[in-house]
Amino acid sequence: MRIFIQGAGCVSAQDSGVFPGEIRRYEGDRLPVADPDYKQWIDIKQIRRMGRAIKMGVAASHMSLEAAGFPNPDAIIMGTAYGCLADTGVFLQKMVSQHEDMLTPTAFIQSTHNTVAGQIALLLGCHAYNNTFVHGAFSFENALQDSLLLLAEDPSRQILTGATDEITEYSHTILRRFGLYRQAVSAGEGAAFFVLSAEKGATSLAQLTAVEMLYRPASEKETADQLAAFLLRNGVQPGGLSLVLTGRNGDEGNDAYYATVERSLFGDTPIAAFKPFCGEYPTATAFAVWMAAGCLNRGVVPQEAMVKGAAPAQPERILIWNHHHGKHHSFILLEKC
């Protein structure tokens, strides 16, 4: 069975409408989302309680449903590593500074990880399957895997899947103290959503062939072997890829890992990176899928994304490979449709 991306929506540091056209550049260690006017999608009465993670997620999900021309999904599945961090921070801050007194419910309610998927269901009046995966750099990948399982169980379904994560002042300060942005790494945030189904239609952007996760590989060699096996299982030779879109983020050790595996596996295959456009965050691969689907659909890869080789014209197959601190690796294969 083949699975297609029927519609996509993205809220990121790039302009949601035009990528890969004009690319926005940022200074400093932070790539904030270019917030669209959320009132386009969300009623003013509902928006007043929503944190940015929720607004970004609701907006991206609406864009993808509109693009697919499908307002009633048969499942809503999302991933988020941190959930609604801003509301979590607000509630924690008040709880500590007010000594557990005179706290209000809104921030607590909004802090729950499944708030975003719950809000999407509430706004759509959707009683279908609803799930949220919260596992760092495996969150979005599991949402995709769950979507593929649901489609294997019943190919007639239309599934809304995606991810959202936000940067807050607290999280940025704390992650900086961990030394995360010591090198050229920029923190990122954003949301991307997709409508998936098994039937190719007029709006289909790309084929989502497969997703796989690899936890704590013992060495670059193990990663290369697993990656090659993943490609072969899906009928692709490593040399048959048009592009490898990696999660290089500017950290030397982190990026060297990609280069080592690439040398042993990919020969002359062009290599690109997506984090210069969206920043580093655990669910950034959702942005990568949005970017790759756009590249396959338009037949263009932005030259600014290239790490090695020339930007391929009319790409056929793109592998997204991301790793988070060498511990959580994921492979996502997309093909032209």
């Binding site: 709880m95 708030t115 009046g125 799930n131 995966f133 919260v134 399982l149 704390i174 961990f178």
Partner: protein
Amino acid sequence: MMQGSVWIAGGGVISGIGRNLDECMASFEAMRPGMAYMQHLHSSHAGTFPVVEVKASNEELAALAGMPAHWSRTALLSRIAVQEAWNASGLGSISDYRVGFVSANTVGGMDKTEDFMAAFLADPAKGKLRQVVHHECGAVTDLVADAMGIRHHVSTSTACSSGANALMYGARMIRAGMLDVVIAGGTDALTRFTLNGFNTLMILDQQNCRPFDDTRTGLNLGEGAGYVVLVSDAVAANIRPWCRLAGFANANDAYHQTASSPDGTGNFLAMKGALEMGGLQPEDVGYINLHGTGTQNNDSSEGLAITRLFEKGVPPASSTKSFTGHTLGASGGIEAVFSAWALREGIIYPNANFSVQMKELAFSPVTAFSRGNDLRNVMSNSFGFGGNCSSLVFSKE
């Protein structure tokens, strides 16, 4: 592609009424609910709200778990219950199988983060970083997976229904042939964050909670962890499984962010879907382990949805939260263990503190512990914030 059955090979639980399944059973049999004023968490509400803490310090739990005492209590609880579940399965070495771990929790390492915040808010350069390194829900799951030697694992969080969703995802990965064995359930430690959060909603009872009682005024928070070991037909053939996970469904109420719809639309859809998947009729169910939090809203909605689905008669039903308190992300896992064990042993659990019949319902919860019941199918309900409603059905064969 989707084929075969999924079996429960074993289960493990740690809660405020016992550090393992045997101790929990003894508490049910002796009608000994676990509510008390808190001994281990520090909160200004300590003398106001009874809670159901696991009766052990972090140091004691760390010794049981074989983990450092400064790690999140959520990870310590998880590790203890996972190990018990694995031992109960009789499967031997974990490296002999393709094993997955699906663990739910709602606030990750929040118990440590809230300690960190006091210093951090005073000075952003202060606060021990080791207290926030496991803040993320997934980080807690990683710690336990590493300790067990499992490399295929994930966390889910759909608030109070997440433990049940963990079982569903695990079962579906087995049916798709991706894995042979999945340890699935949930864990959550008591935190000031959740205690204060539920307090802002004004749904914490200052007395022991009274699920499905007309005088109920809220829930008591608990803590703990509970996991089952799910196995494929091929693995089940070599052991004596407890029972089969015959049906499950996840539906959304799509009514309100926190409250259930008055008629329990999502609850109804989840229970109906689980029965349909198992090829069962409502009258086939011998016992329902209720979500039964003790809030006005939940018990009324759940009760009305049950009345509608079980129109020919409601089977014996009870809320074990009247003993364990509401353990949030752990509750779906803990109650799955109780439900699967109930089926194996013919046990029906009592609902503590019931005295006044709810006006809107024609049925009342079971109030006495009993063994030797001829149960063929048991249902377990888990409902949560965000409209998330999940229902599981376990079958003897």
